[in-house]
């Protein structure tokens, strides 16, 4: 380490008589740039009357299966586009494309969340159809995506009943950021120790106004109510 200034670099020339350390005010928020990109995305989505939902969950909660089933049910009702976020692979986008819906895969590499800048690029490539719905499937992670606004109308948190019913208290930021909680895999309820009342109580301690829907993407139970929720939000958004 350089002993003159302790800067951690190997010895390098110092002209300390030339040094004029001074303090500069910055006062800038680290999320400002992301928030600016998110605002630009939101504007673009509003211009096209696109209702955008940011789906967040742990890995394996069933987001992609849910999307595939949702796309099948939405056929003839509204156009759908999907942005898929994963650290690696384009498996999920391929699964979506098999349904015929346009999908863009974003790989975040070491990144643990999608940010508004990446989503902006994906939007210009995807060009969502007017008056449709855009699903953004975030990286499976209940921590980081909470802080990053992508320009969506709502964050929707998907929690499967094979996870613990104490998740809302363990990951409060995500449940606070979400407007809807989807309890997925309810067909497995008889086989797991998951207390639906408890999870709803925990979620509402964090976010009193959070809406809750129970469904199973596998059996199709509860999916109609979810598609109706999307329709209602979309109509509201379009007329707003």
């Amino acid at each position: 380490m350089c002993l003159t200034c302790g800067c951690g670099q190997p010895d390098h020339p110092h002209h300390h008589h030339e040094h004029d350390p001074r303090l500069v005010e910055v006062e800038r928020n680290l999320l400002d740039q992301n928030n600016r990109y998110a605002a630009a995305n939101r504007k673009l989505l509003a211009e096209r009357n696109t209702f955008a939902l940011n789906l967040v969950s742990s890995p394996g909660a069933g987001k992609t299966t849910l999307l595939v089933k949702t796309i099948e049910l939405s056929r003839g009702r509204f156009p759908v586009g999907v942005i898929e976020g994963d650290q690696q692979t384009s498996f999920d986008a391929a699964r979506i494309q098999e349904t015929g819906a346009p999908a863009i895969q974003l790989n975040t590499g070491k990144g643990c969340h999608l940010d508004a800048h990446m989503v902006g690029h994906a939007l210009s490539e995807l060009e969502p159809q007017p008056n449709g719905v855009l699903f953004i499937e975030n990286v499976g992670n209940l921590v980081c995506p909470a802080a990053f606004d992508l320009g969506e109308a709502h964050k929707v948190v998907v929690l499967s009943v094979t996870e613990g019913d104490d998740k809302p208290l363990k990951y409060p930021d995500m449940f606070h950021a979400s407007d809807l909680m989807l309890l997925n895999k309810i067909d497995l309820l008889p086989h797991v120790d998951f207390d639906v009342e408890r999870v709803v109580d925990f979620a509402r301690r964090i976010k009193p106004e959070i809406e809750v829907l129970q469904l199973s993407a596998r059996t199709g139970e509860g999916l109609d109510a979810w598609v109706e929720w999307i329709e209602a939000g979309r109509t509201h958004e379009v007329s707003a």
């Binding site: 303090l23 910055v26 006062e27 800038r28 740039q33 940010d115």
Partner: protein, 124 residues
Amino acid sequence: MAREMLKSDSPMHELSLCESVVRIIADEAERQSFSRVLKVRLEIGALSCAMPDAMRMAFTAVTPGTIAEGAELEILHTPGVAHCEQCGKDVEVSERYDPCPDCGTAPLFVTNGDQLRIKDLEVE
């Protein structure tokens, strides 16, 4: 409720937050004409989404090769404060959804502690 510790090899949003630090510094260097950063003072609220330790680690990872290489990172902690309507007063909270320590009301209305910003820089 303790926040779960991030493993050093796990991806973390603190990394992208520190990339924002570097971007903001580069921008300010042009605006306020400086070529080297000696110290970064970062304000992190107790209720923000960043963990100070992870921020330190990420800062060391992203600054090499930038004008903030070798700069000291000073973290200014600001406590979480929330207002309890029931008691009519402000109370300190360590998590966003902590109940009022006096009457148990939850959630409270958070009034301070979500800072996540560069306050100032010592530069030359």
